[in-house]
């Protein structure tokens, strides 16, 4: 056990840090905390820069355009990105979910076709798992795919799909056999989002932002070979996706939480609405220190499950711990900001605290315990698959 970087890791970290500082420029760190929304062109350009420098898909096998590096390198990449507040790669769903699933289940042609543009950010992926009638209960998915000649014809509706409005491809769970027992009737398609019959409608969240979308499929024709695994294997393929979602996500979550902790420390040290410095209040100090402990515990829990990932290639179900713990910690953190800001917390633009940064963060955090597996589902997973209690249903 050694929590320090090896000589190679330290060299990688140093090179990366210099690259980030040079590429983002000196104005980056001193930029306003909150400003501007998502800009697709900028995000894609940044993704391409990351890709050209070799920082995307660090741990993917070299044969698929990855760096072939141990998983610790991805951890270092995310730590350093968080340190400087670097923007994320545009293809989060592709990198974290679609890509690893294609590597695990895809044919050689599929790997050749999809992985390179996914890494470079030229093609953006979204996820079509949840439906209006089946959020947590994916096995109840109703979106149908019927084989017609050499094409699957897809009809149905998906929801909570991040990035669908800019996505080129969708990993889609469909029902191909309505007569089979519910999990066995599912299949896993790779769907071109530019196909006729695909309609994306933004879904406004409590923040007012249209971050998620509904996707409607009306007689969408998908080539027969655009399936991962065999018909009826969709559930197992989707489980690979979700394991990776919850497994590798941990590092991004830690990185984000570290940035948020730095922000709340900054907030607590400036005079609040009552003119007092919150950081002088022992109750606030206690809460911020607990957040620091929660962050470190998350970090080292990730590192420990990374050791498992390194050994087996698959993140263990312990990844559920990271998501569960992160989401509740982030909610406590943003609620503390709300308390510190008082009524000024209401002002969500000019005149507000940091132009409404915290109002947005606090409202957004309520989705954290719902998206990517609700806390209730994660507690079921931990009870049943990790601790080994009998199934609740």
């Amino acid at each position: 056990m050694d929590f320090r970087d090896t000589a190679d890791e330290a060299e990688f970290r140093g090179t990366l840090r210099r690259w980030l500082e040079t590429t983002l420029g000196p104005d980056w760190v001193s930029r306003p905390t909150f400003g501007g929304g998502f800009n697709e062109a900028e995000s894609k350009a940044w993704s391409k820069q990351l890709y050209d420098a070799g920082y995307v898909g660090l741990t993917w096998p070299k044969e698929y355009g990855g760096g072939g590096a141990p998983h610790t390198y991805q951890g270092i990449f995310l730590e350093e990105s968080a340190r400087i507040g670097a923007p994320a790669h545009v293809g989060g769903i592709g990198l974290g979910m679609a890509g690893p699933t294609i590597i695990a289940w895809g044919t050689d042609e599929q790997k050749k076709r999809y992985l390179a543009p996914l890494l470079s950010g030229e093609e953006v992926w979204c996820q079509g798992f949840s439906e209006p009638g089946s959020g947590s209960d994916m096995g109840a998915a109703k979106t149908r795919a019927v084989l017609d000649g050499d094409e699957w014809v897809v009809n149905g509706q998906k929801v909570w799909s991040s990035w669908a409005h800019i996505a080129d491809w969708c990993i889609l769970v469909v029902r191909t056999d309505p007569d089979a027992e519910k999990h066995r009737g599912l299949s896993y398609l790779l769907v071109d989002m530019h196909s006729p019959g695909v309609e994306v409608r933004p879904l406004k969240q409590i923040t007012g932002d249209p971050e998620f979308n509904e996707i409607f499929f009306t007689d969408v024709r998908v080539p027969r070979e655009s399936m991962l695994g065999q018909p009826g294997e969709g559930w197992n393929v989707a489980m690979t996706t979700l394991l990776h979602e919850r497994g590798t996500l941990g590092f991004s979550l830690t990185a984000g939480l570290e940035q948020s902790l730095n922000q709340i420390i900054k907030l607590a040290k400036q005079p609040g609405p009552d003119g007092q410095i919150a950081a002088d209040d022992p109750v606030v100090r206690d809460q911020i220190a607990q957040l620091w402990v929660d962050l470190q515990a998350l970090r080292f829990t990730n590192y420990r499950s990374l050791t498992a990932l390194q050994k087996t290639g698959v993140p263990g179900p312990e990844g559920s711990v990271a998501k569960l713990h992160w989401s509740e910690t982030n909610q406590r953190l943003t609620s503390l900001a709300q308390q510190l800001n008082g009524l000024a917390h209401q002002l969500d633009a000019e005149g507000g605290v940091w132009d409404g940064y915290w109002a947005y963060q606090q409202l957004r955090s309520r989705g954290n315990t719902i998206e990517a597996g609700t806390s209730e589902i994660l507690r079921n997973i931990i009870a049943e698959r990790v601790v080994g209690l009998p199934k609740s249903r």
């Binding site: 050694d2 929590f3 100090r285 402990v293 998350l298 420990r304 507690r379 079921n380 931990i382 601790v387």
Partner: protein
């Protein structure tokens, strides 16, 4: 970066598990805890033979042993000797410990005087002159099992042979009967000044806290295992109670607390072993996470057991009391969060 114990350390864990499971099943722990002596004095020689007292062991080996001894609630002054006093022993005591002949504890607290190990000498009314020491120390861990006590006096550290001066020892009734506290009443008692100075107390405190965090992880793991095995079997209203989410989510929350505590405890053990700059913060973080985590785990487990978990007969309360012991040692979570806040809000 490497976050796993080495193969050798895992072998050490496996052999510790075997020994503890063989010699200290739950019924034996109960029997020893409720006995006057509070332990089986043959244990110390066995630990020496197994290598638990080997001065060559590092902090990570100690971490593994602490976790396993917490899981079993090993009744022996191992943590007091190795965790609390390891950094303070002179060659005479070190050799005696390694041979399985000496057992050591630390006496720092005084009524109306110091309560924390760091700075314990500052307000101490305990003083030494001409090879003797005078003063009264309270809350001395495992005092009844120690052969020697390292006493913090106002000008340094002194070793007192309590085996040769049994009249100095007054045991107090302690809720955790596997790690009892006593009072040490010194009145011109022969004492030997140690080479280690008062500044070594900071190291001793860090080591003790890191190991105790690992021990708390073992306690929490046991509380979780008890909850899991009970809720897998127990039926009410015709269903296994573990299928009720009101029960199973309590178990999940315990698992989460345990994993977080384990991560922090291992970090602290590593930071101490490597002399990392983060050691002080890591140890405080581990104190918060494992100290409070073990108490939480025991409370959740007691609740999951229902009435049986509240009985003296059930093993759980023994773990609960140890969890509270560990949580109370050298400042509870509140004080360690305050220390962390001083660092991150500076």
């Amino acid at each position: 970066m490497d976050f796993a114990f080495s193969d050798e350390q895992e072998l050490l864990r496996a052999s510790a598990k075997d020994y503890l499971a063989d010699r200290f099943p739950a019924a034996r722990i109960v029997e020893l805890a409720d006995s006057d002596a509070g332990w089986d004095s043959n244990t110390w020689k066995e630990l020496a033979d197994l290598g638990w007292l080997d001065p060559e062991l590092g902090a990570l080996e100690h971490a593994v042993l602490a976790e396993e001894s917490g899981y079993t609630l090993l009744p022996a002054p191992w943590w007091s000797t190795i965790g609390l006093c390891g950094a303070l022993l002179d060659s005479e005591l070190r050799d005696g410990v390694a041979a399985g002949e000496r057992r050591v504890s630390l006496a720092w607290a005084e009524t109306d005087g110091p309560s924390s190990i760091s700075g314990a000498a500052n307000d101490s009314a305990t003083s030494a002159e001409h090879g003797t020491i005078t003063g009264t120390k309270v809350q001395v861990p495992d005092l009844g099992l120690a052969t020697d006590v390292i006493v913090v006096a106002n000008d340094g550290l002194y070793a007192v042979d309590v085996a040769a001066n049994p009249e100095t020892v007054i045991m107090r009734s302690t809720i955790d009967r596997t790690r009892r506290l006593g009072e040490l009443v010194l009145s011109g008692t022969p004492a030997r000044k140690l080479d280690a100075g008062l500044d070594a107390l900071a190291t001793a405190r860090r080591n003790a806290l890191a190991l105790l965090a690992c021990e708390s992880v073992g306690v929490a793991q046991r509380a979780l295992d008890e909850a899991a095995s009970y809720t897998k079997e127990r039926q009410q209203f015709g269903r296994i109670i573990g299928t009720y989410q009101g029960v199973s989510h309590r178990v999940s929350n315990t698992f989460v607390a345990l994993q977080l505590a384990r991560s922090m405890a291992y970090w602290a053990a590593w930071a101490v072993s490597a002399g990392s700059d983060d050691a002080e913060a890591a140890v405080s973080g581990a104190k918060v996470s494992a100290g409070e985590g073990a108490v939480f785990a025991c409370e959740q487990s007691i609740q999951a057991h229902g009435g049986i978990g509240f009985t003296w007969e059930h093993i759980l309360h023994r773990y609960y009391k140890r969890a509270q012991w560990n949580n109370g040692f050298e400042g509870s979570g509140r004080q360690h969060r305050a220390a962390i806040a001083d660092k991150i809000l500076a």
